[in-house]
């Protein structure tokens, strides 16, 4: 249930993000989920692709500083209270969340969750019947 997310450190410089997406595009790599965390000087681009290891190697070769991070993707029913139920489970179980972002998938709304303890996230969410995505479903 653990998904390998790619994180790329980017300086705030015109064209840097374009360059990243150009390489993905030219190599026919589709991003399932995507988010940017930004500060004044730099940003962290976080995204999920079907072949994380191959993409990581490709980006390294192209001079990007890229790491992989373990995350969990959960499927949230597209209705009021959908996200709330999942988060309530996590806080009831004292599971810390570092960051999260949403993306659209064929199943409707999905949310990427990064936590220091991804195993625990999976355990408590599954125990509460919240649907998670497998790497093969990306």
């Amino acid at each position: 249930m653990i998904i390998k997310q790619l994180s790329v450190f980017l300086q705030n410089k015109t064209g840097r993000l374009t360059e990243l997406t150009r390489i993905l595009s030219e190599n026919n790599i589709n991003m399932t989920a995507f988010s940017i965390a930004d500060t004044a000087d730099y940003g962290i681009v976080r995204f999920i692709v079907p072949q994380p290891e191959a993409t990581r190697t490709l980006l390294k070769e192209q001079g990007f500083s890229v790491n992989t991070t373990d995350v969990v993707c959960l499927i949230v029913p597209n209705e009021p209270g959908g996200l709330y139920r999942a988060l309530q489970v996590l806080s009831d179980n004292q599971v810390p969340v570092e960051y999260m972002y949403a993306f659209a998938s064929e199943n409707g709304a999905s949310v990427v969750i990064r936590s220091e303890s991804c195993e625990q996230v999976i355990e408590v969410l599954q125990a509460n019947k919240i649907q998670l995505m497998r790497a093969s479903e990306l």
Binding site: S7, F9, L10, Q11, A37, T39, D41, Y42, I44, R46, G63, F64, S65, N67, T69, E98, Y99, R114
Partner: protein, 433 residues
């Protein structure tokens, strides 16, 4: 162990009498044999008989690297060509090389000071010393070579490069001491690890490293990689080559062989002599050399001097590891900043790489310093919180080391040019002239 106890542990008054005598003779030699010095001294109204004590040094003119270039190749020589038995030259990164000459007597002095330096770290005739400094025009290889032979150690004159052969002879011959540049020592250490060589096959116990700037963090790294104790040797070809000063086992600064080379520390801007303990530019007067004696030669190295008997018994003045070069020194909000200080801070932090660039500017008549630091390619976190903590930690450590608040900007790995040159390390946008 002390090679020449009579000199190295001499009473300071006795040493001074010897220095006065030698300086007096030196002034006479350069006045009558080097037109450049005769002109300089005459302009100041100084004649040889006016100088009889090292207390008068501050009245004498300086010599710079430019003076050596202007008098290329042999204009600074005080001895006729018939008496010159060796020539060395430094690579001229900015035009002509710097040429230095030696008489027989000069080579004897050189071997003597290197023998003292090696003895200082326990090298004896029982040692096998691998000299991996370059041999040739560069003074490193041959300088250490003759001193090691004088001590009676078995010398392997392998010169620099050819790492595989270095490692093989190191194991086969059982080298106990290695002399090379600290960066090559680090390379040898990494190669041992990479080739999977059994460390018990390596008998090295000491390393004599110099000829390029290195930090104490690098010392620890080399000591760990090679399983040795690493010692700092100082020298520059203009003065004699390696062996101007050397660290003893107490590693309390490098002892300068003052019976041949008189050190002074000056303020690089006002040129005033500074007292012991203050940081400034190191200046040497070579009082015994025959071929190319230099008067108050400005090394451009920044350091400080310490007086007082060392636990090893030596009484000679000690110099700190060089803090940087006067060419690199920046004055920001009145604070002297050396790029090497920033490098030392970064080397202590694992999440940052020691690759940095300084950008100095002036906003509203106030100097600003921005330090661009590459994040470590392997160990950065993808959480903003962790990266921001790293940034603040760097800022805090820099402030403690420099007494100056800098803006820290994290940048991508491999985006700062890899060069020792000032051009890449420092961008000064202040319009000061």
């Amino acid at each position: 162990m002390i090679w020449n106890e009579y000199i190295e542990a001499a009473d300071r008054d006795r040493l001074k009498r010897l220095q006065n005598e030698r300086l007096t003779e030196m002034i006479e030699r350069i006045y009558y044999n080097v037109p450049f010095y005769r002109k300089k001294l005459s302009e100041l109204g100084i004649e040889p008989r006016d100088i009889n004590s090292i207390d008068q040094l501050h009245k004498l003119p300086f010599t710079t690297k430019d003076d050596l270039r202007d008098n290329y190749p042999f204009g600074m020589f005080a001895a006729p060509q018939q008496q010159i038995v060796r020539l060395h030259a430094s690579s001229g990164t900015t035009g002509k090389p710097t040429v230095v000459g030696y008489t027989h007597n000069d080579l004897n002095i050189w071997s003597e000071v290197v023998a003292r330096a090696l003895t200082m770290v326990g090298v004896t005739r029982s040692d096998i010393i691998q000299i991996a400094y370059g041999y040739g025009l560069f003074t490193g290889g041959l300088g250490v070579h003759y001193g090691a032979e004088k001590v009676g150690a078995s010398v392997i004159p392998i010169s620099g490069g050819n790492t595989r052969k270095q490692l093989q002879l190191m194991m086969d011959f059982g080298s106990t001491v290695i002399a090379c540049t600290p960066s090559y020592a680090a390379h040898l250490g990494e190669s041992i690890a990479k080739e999977g060589i059994d460390r018990s096959k390596i008998k090295l116990r000491a390393g004599i490293f110099g000829a390029e700037p290195w930090t104490n963090e690098m010392r620890r790294q080399v000591e760990q990689l090679l399983g040795i104790k690493a010692y700092d040797i100082y020298g520059l070809s203009e003065i004699i080559g390696p062996g101007v000063a050397m660290e003893c086992e107490h590693q309390n600064g490098m002892h300068i062989f003052e019976d041949h080379f008189i050190p002074e520390i000056i303020d690089p801007v006002t040129l005033e002599v500074l007292p012991y303990g203050q940081v400034g530019e190191l200046v040497f007067t070579t009082i015994s050399k025959e071929a190319m004696p230099l008067l108050r030669y400005r090394t451009r190295d920044l350091t400080r001097l310490h007086i007082g008997k060392c636990a090893c018994g030596r009484t000679m003045v000690r110099m700190d590891k060089c803090l940087g070069r006067t060419d690199d020194m920046l004055i920001i909000r009145g604070v002297n900043v050396f790029p090497s200080q920033i490098e030392a801070v970064l080397l202590e932090m694992s999440e940052a790489s020691p690759h940095y660039q300084l950008v100095v500017d002036r906003e509203n008549n106030l100097d600003t310093l921005e330090i661009r630091v590459e994040i470590d390619d392997q160990f950065w976190s993808d959480e903003i919180r962790v990266l921001e903590n790293l940034r603040k930690q760097i800022q805090h450590n820099i402030a403690s080391a420099l007494g100056l608040t800098a803006r820290i900007k994290l940048v991508e790995p491999n985006t700062i040019a890899r060069s020792e040159g000032k051009a890449q390390r420092v961008i000064d946008n202040r319009k000061l002239v």
